[in-house]
Amino acid sequence: MNAIFYSLRGIRRYQKSLLVVAVITPLAFGASWVCGVRWDILWKGLADSAALVKLMTPEWDAFAEMLQPALDSVLIALVGTLLGTVLSIFFAFAAASNIAPRWLRNSVRFILGLERAMPEIVILLFLVAAFGMGPFAGVLSLTIGCIGMLGKLIADAIEELDPISLESIEAIGATKIQLLVFGVIQQIMPSVISFALFRFELSIRLSVVLGAVGAGGIGLEMYRAFFLLDYRRATTALVVILAMVFITERLSEFLRKKIKAEGALK
């Protein structure tokens, strides 16, 4: 009798875990059926790729050709982030409840939310269809993505500002523009810079992917090399990308530390 009681208690104790397993297992089987999971293909393919890896010694001669596309990618990310940051400050003003009227704030927040919901790659597809391939579409899509993300972050930072400091500036008779320049921008600048650096790291990674869809740059080189089954060239591109990501991340970290040490451009 006791034995049954205890075994039942055991089940009850793990009731929740059992329920989770019972829900997830059929879902996982369904999902793997939809995805067409075939592990045998994977093992075979990976075995083949292992042979491929031997072919993937980087082609050192191709390095010189990769530098220009890599620089293009970095510049796309840089210009996209800079433009995006500057524009997102304006969007943030319009999206902060303590500066903009309610209707403006809500509508701008809606637009920013929409921009965030669209992956950069979808924006790029749209822009490539309008402007043609090239860095212009790439820069613009990164700018739009940057506005969506930083606009919201900066607007939140503005809304968290101490209302007393803003009121005291208003009280001495400052105009609206003076209030924005001396009250708001002064205070949010440190966070704007750190957001921008964070976004720059993200933009570098994105510019690689966007490059393959039509923005040009190092991503396109890698995609093309894969397409032509030139794996050595692809590996070269990978090495260049890794170096690029590593260097920009170090740089951004260095700037962040320096700005922190100097008291954020006071």
């Binding site: 879902l27 994977l42 393919g45 800079l82 992956p119 995609y223 990978l238």
Partner: protein, 271 residues
């Protein structure tokens, strides 16, 4: 007491600011010239955007109901993200226990696992998806494997930090009663970390849905691929319908993931 005023520009900081801004401006202009990026093109060429917009509206939702492949593509994207989160999350969890200092006593194993995790984080996903497409062919399976890979990299690191941030005192207390390492993991570390693991998995699903759409373009299948096809074949009205569906999908996932996470971390389930 010396009163410093933040709200006036002192000559030094004014000069510093001017230098920084002019350097940024010069870099910006130089970069634009070098790339051939002309901001005024946005205004001179803007009629192309308007033309495109005219061609795109109104979105044609007709095909969404008619064509079964679209419905399947949405399902594929959802499944890709789900499997990527499930498998990637589980592997990340195991690796995190092997990489955390308070669960893995051997420093050599820790270092190795950490090296693997950071290696997975730095490799661009474009490269991974192209490799998997070469290995298993076009389709959602390749996309799923890519998501597994990137989820392990990102969340393995995060889970390691979560495990290392658990309180040491309860673990010491249980060790003092003569418990083994396994028992400590089961009765101290797991209960403390399970809510945040689950919450982060919902977050991972949100990220993976977005990533899955992008991966579709490079042969990962799903709705991203359908969108790319529609754009390439100039079926703009279908494309806009697909964009609407994509945005809806992303927004719904985000809201759901946020709500579930809030509920989990705010106390409640899975205690």
């Amino acid at each position: 007491m010396k009163v410093t005023s933040h709200y006036t520009f002192s000559p030094v900081s004014y000069r510093q600011r001017a230098t920084i801004f002019s350097v940024i401006a010069v870099v910006l202009v130089a970069a634009c010239v070098f790339m051939g990026f002309d901001p005024s093109m946005l205004f001179t060429e803007f009629h192309y955007v308007i033309d495109l917009f005219k061609e795109m509206t109104p979105p044609r939702f007709h095909d969404l109901w008619q064509d079964k492949t679209i419905g399947l593509a949405i399902l594929e994207t959802l499944s890709m993200a789900f499997m990527g989160t499930l498998i990637g999350g589980s592997v990340a969890l195991v690796l995190a226990f092997l990489a955390a200092a308070n669960t893995m006593p051997l420093a050599a194993v820790r270092l190795m696992v950490r090296a693997v995790l950071s290696f997975q984080r730095v490799i661009p996903s474009l490269f991974i998806v192209l490799i998997f497409v070469a290995a298993v062919g076009l389709g959602p399976f390749a996309g799923m494997l890519t998501l597994v890979f990137s989820t392990i990299g990102t969340f393995g690191q995060l889970f390691t930090e979560i495990i290392e941030n658990t309180q040491q005192e309860p673990a010491d207390a249980i060790y003092a009663t003569g418990a083994t390492r396994w028992q400590v993991i089961r009765y101290v570390i797991l209960p403390q970390t399970l809510p945040s693991f689950t919450a982060n998995l919902f977050y991972a699903y949100d990220i993976n849905i977005r990533a899955a759409i992008g991966l579709g373009i490079f042969g990962g299948g799903g709705i991203g691929f359908q969108l790319f096809q529609a754009m390439r074949l100039l079926h703009y009205r279908d494309a806009l319908a697909l964009i609407c569906v994509t945005v809806l999908l992303i927004v719904l996932t985000e809201k759901m993931s946020d709500a579930l996470r809030g509920q989990l971390l705010g106390g409640g389930a899975l205690k």
